[in-house]
C-alpha cells in the first residue's frame, strides 16, 4: 500500500469529482491549445494566401508582358501603317545645291526663282498637297550676339486645282517673328516683345517649345522681309512639299519625276518627318505597353496589400479575443479546480483524521491531494490538447485537410500543456491540500 494507490482508489471511488476536475483542466488546456493552433493555422493560411496571390500577380504580369509585347508590335505596326498612309515630306532644291552643305551645316546657299512655287501650284500635280517656299541662312544676330538660322517663309501656297485646305503652317505676317526655344530662353524674350534684327524691328509673335533639333536655334520671319534682308529678292532656297501621297512603292521617285517635268533644274529629297513619325510610333507603342504593364503591376501590388491588410486584421482580431478569453477560461477553470479540491477535502475529513492518527505525516496528506491534482492535470492536459488541437485544425481550414494535422502539430505545445496543466492543477489545489494537512485529527475523531 502506498499513497499513489490510495489516490487511484479514491479517484475510482469518486468518479464525478474526478471527471469534473478533469473537465476543467481539459477545457483550460483546450482553450489555450485551440487558440494557439488556430492562430498558427491563420499564420500559415495567410502565408499561403499571400503566396498564391503573388504567384497570380506574377503570372498575370508575365501574361500581360507577353500580351503587351504582342499588342505593342501590333500597335507599332498599325502606327507605322497609319503614318505611311498619312504621307511624307519633301524638299525641292536647286539642282546645283550641295546636299552636304544642307546635312552638315543646315544651310542652303543656292537659290531658284520664287515663281517656281507658283508654277508648281498652278500645275496639275496630284502627289503634292502643301507648298511652303522659303529662304534660309545661318546668320549672326548681332543685336543678340547669337548665331541662328534665319528662315523666311510666306506660309502655305494654295494649289490651284485643289479645294482650299486648312494650311499646315501659318504664314508669318510682315514685321513679326517666331523664335525657337534656345533663342527666346537665352535672351529672355516674351511674346509681343519688340526685337531688332539687322536694324529692323520685329514683334515676337510666337515662342516655340523645345524641339531638340535645329528649330530651337531658328527664327522665322516673313518671306519677303527675309529675301530683302538676305538680298535674295524673288529667289528662294527651297520649297517644302508637305503630306505628299503616292500609291507606289518607290514614291519619292514618282514625285521626283512629276516635279522634274514641271520644274526642270531642281532636285527632290525626302525630309525627316516619316522616320520621326515611325520613331514616335514606336515610342508611343512602347509607352502604351509600359503604362499597361505598370497598371497591371500596380493592381497586383494593391491586391497583395489588400490581402495582407485583411489577413493581418483577422489575425489581430483573433489574437485579441484569445488574449482575453484564454486567460479568463484558465483562471475560471483554476478556481473551479480549487473549489472541487476543497469539496474533496471536506468530504474526506474523517479519512484525513484516521490517516493522521495511524501515523501519516502532513506531507503525505498533502501528497494525497496534490497527487490527485497532478493526475487530473496530466490526463486533462492530454484530453484538452487532443480537443484543442482538433478544434484548431478544424477551424483553421488548412487544405488539404489530411496534411493539416502534421503541419499544425507542435510538439513543444504538447510538452508545455503536459507540464503546465499538472502545475496549474496542483497550484489550484494547493490551499485545500494545505488545509487537509493541517486538520487536527483529535478534533475530527472527537467530532465523530
Amino acid at each position: 500500500m502506498n499513497v499513489w494507490r490510495l489516490v487511484l482508489q479514491e479517484i475510482a471511488h469518486r468518479k464525478v469529482n474526478f471527471a469534473m476536475g478533469l473537465l476543467s483542466v481539459a477545457v483550460a488546456v483546450a482553450s489555450f491549445v485551440g487558440a494557439t493552433t488556430l492562430l498558427q493555422a491563420d499564420r500559415i493560411r495567410t502565408d499561403e494566401i499571400l503566396s498564391e496571390r503573388k504567384q497570380q500577380v506574377e503570372q498575370a504580369v508575365a501574361e500581360k508582358q507577353q500580351e503587351v509585347k504582342q499588342a505593342g508590335k501590333q500597335l507599332e505596326d498599325a502606327m507605322r501603317k497609319i503614318t505611311k498612309g498619312l504621307g511624307f515630306n519633301l524638299l525641292i532644291l536647286p539642282q546645283d545645291q550641295d546636299l552636304n552643305e544642307l546635312h552638315a551645316g543646315g544651310t542652303l546657299s543656292k537659290t531658284m526663282p520664287a515663281e517656281y512655287v507658283d508654277r508648281l501650284a498652278n500645275s496639275n500635280i496630284m502627289t503634292i498637297n502643301h507648298l511652303l517656299p522659303m529662304v534660309t541662312q545661318k546668320f549672326h544676330w548681332k543685336e543678340m550676339d547669337q548665331t541662328i538660322h534665319l528662315v523666311g517663309t510666306r506660309g502655305e501656297v494654295p494649289l490651284a486645282h485643289r479645294d482650299l485646305k486648312k494650311p499646315l503652317q501659318d504664314q508669318v505676317p510682315p514685321g513679326s517673328m517666331v523664335v525657337g526655344f534656345q533663342i527666346h530662353t537665352k535672351n529672355s524674350l516674351r511674346k509681343d516683345q519688340k526685337v531688332t534684327l539687322q536694324g529692323r524691328e520685329f514683334t515676337v509673335k510666337e515662342l516655340k517649345p523645345q524641339q531638340g533639333n535645329r528649330d530651337d536655334v531658328t527664327a522665322w520671319i516673313n518671306l519677303a522681309e527675309a529675301q530683302d534682308l538676305l538680298g535674295r529678292q524673288n529667289l528662294v532656297n527651297g520649297i517644302l512639299a508637305l503630306e505628299c501621297n503616292c500609291a507606289t512603292q518607290d514614291r519619292v521617285a514618282e514625285i521626283r519625276e512629276d516635279v522634274a517635268a514641271i520644274l526642270p533644274g531642281t532636285q527632290v529629297i525626302e525630309s525627316g518627318p516619316p522616320a520621326l513619325a515611325r520613331a514616335e510610333a514606336r515610342n508611343k507603342a512602347k509607352q502604351t505597353a509600359e503604362e499597361s504593364l505598370a497598371r497591371e503591376k500596380a493592381a497586383g501590388a494593391a491586391a497583395i496589400d489588400s490581402d495582407t491588410t485583411n489577413r493581418t486584421r483577422l489575425t489581430e482580431q483573433r489574437e485579441q479575443v484569445a488574449a482575453v478569453l484564454v486567460p479568463l477560461v484558465i483562471i475560471g477553470c483554476a478556481v473551479w479546480i480549487g473549489f472541487l479540491a476543497l469539496m474533496n477535502v471536506r468530504q474526506r475529513t474523517s479519512e484525513v483524521g484516521i490517516l493522521r492518527a495511524i501515523g501519516l505525516r502532513s506531507v503525505q496528506i498533502m501528497t494525497i491531494f496534490l497527487g490527485k491534482a497532478v493526475l487530473i492535470g496530466l490526463i486533462g492536459a492530454v484530453v484538452g490538447y487532443a480537443a484543442g488541437f482538433g478544434f484548431g485544425v478544424a477551424a483553421g481550414e488548412l487544405a488539404p485537410a489530411e496534411d493539416a494535422w502534421s503541419r499544425l502539430f507542435a510538439p513543444g505545445l504538447l510538452v508545455l500543456a503536459v507540464l503546465m496543466a499538472p502545475l496549474l492543477s496542483a497550484v489550484a489545489s494547493w490551499i485545500p491540500a494545505v488545509l487537509a494537512a493541517r486538520e487536527d485529527p483529535a478534533v475530527i475523531l472527537q467530532a465523530e
Binding site: I354, A357, L360
Partner: protein, 220 residues
C-alpha cells in the same frame, strides 16, 4: 511500564464556558495488561485516550509511552512515533470507504516501512476470520466485520499499545464479545490495552477497571 500518564489535565474552552475534561488524572498500563476505564458519555474518556495516543496535547501533566514523551516531538515525528508504537480502534471504525479490507488493513504501512506488510495483513485478516471478505469495501461489510477490519489495521504495525475508544459501541452482543476477546488476546500476547468504554461487559475481559467521572478517576 508501557504507558504512564501522570497528572493529566485538559480543559476545553467553549461558548458555554470551561469544560474540565480531565482533572489530575494519572494512570499506567504495563505490558501484558488490559486496562479498562469506564464512565458515562462526556466524562472525559475519549479525551484521555486521545492524549494517551499522542493526538491531543494535554494542558498539564506528562505522557510517557514506552518511556518517551510523544509531545516532546514535532507533529510529524509524533505521527511516526504513533505509527510505530500505538494502534487505535474507534467506535465509528474510521475505515477508508473506498479501500477494500486488505487495503484498509495495509493503510498504516503508508506511515512506516514494513517489509512483510502484505503477509502480515493477510495473516491478521485470516486471524479475524475475514478471508472471504478481503476484497470487499466497508460498505459491503457488517458492523462486526468493519470493527474486526479496524482491529486488524490497528495491529498491522505490531504496536506496543492498543488504544480502544468504545469499540463495542456499535456492535451487537456477540460481536462485542468477540472484539473484547481479541483485545484480551493482544494483552495476553504481551501488548498493553487501554480501553475506554461505558460497556459494563468490559469488566469481564479487562484485568483492571477504573471508573472516570467528571474528568477524575475513581476506584471501580
Amino acid at each position: 511500564m508501557l504507558l504512564n500518564l501522570q497528572s493529566l489535565t485538559k480543559t476545553y474552552h467553549t461558548a458555554n464556558g470551561e469544560v474540565h475534561a480531565l482533572a489530575d488524572v494519572s494512570l499506567s498500563v504495563d505490558d501484558g495488561k488490559f486496562q479498562a476505564v469506564q464512565g458515562p458519555s462526556g466524562c472525559g474518556k475519549t479525551t484521555l485516550l486521545l492524549i494517551a495516543g499522542g493526538l491531543l496535547t494535554p494542558d498539564g501533566g506528562q505522557v510517557l509511552v514506552d518511556g518517551k514523551n510523544p509531545y516532546a516531538l514535532s507533529p510529524d515525528e509524533r505521527a511516526g512515533f504513533r505509527a510505530a508504537n500505538i494502534g487505535f480502534v474507534f467506535q465509528q471504525f474510521h475505515l477508508v470507504p473506498y479501500l477494500n479490507v486488505l487495503d484498509n488493513v495495509l493503510a498504516p504501512a503508508m506511515a512506516s516501512h514494513l517489509p512483510d506488510a502484505h503477509d502480515r495483513a493477510r495473516e491478521l485478516i485470516a486471524h479475524f476470520g475475514m478471508q472471504d471478505r478481503i476484497h470487499h469495501v466497508p460498505g459491503q461489510l457488517s458492523t462486526g466485520e468493519r470493527q474486526r477490519t479496524a482491529l486488524a489495521r490497528a495491529l498491522l504495525n505490531r504496536p506496543k499499545i492498543l488504544l480502544a475508544d468504545e469499540p463495542t459501541g456499535n456492535l451487537d452482543h456477540d460481536h462485542a464479545d468477540s472484539v473484547l476477546g481479541y483485545l484480551r488476546e493482544f494483552a495476553s500476547d504481551g501488548g498493553a490495552v487501554l480501553l475506554v468504554t461505558h460497556d459494563s461487559r468490559a469488566v469481564e475481559y479487562a484485568q483492571s477497571v477504573t471508573n472516570i467521572e467528571h474528568g477524575q478517576l475513581v476506584p471501580a
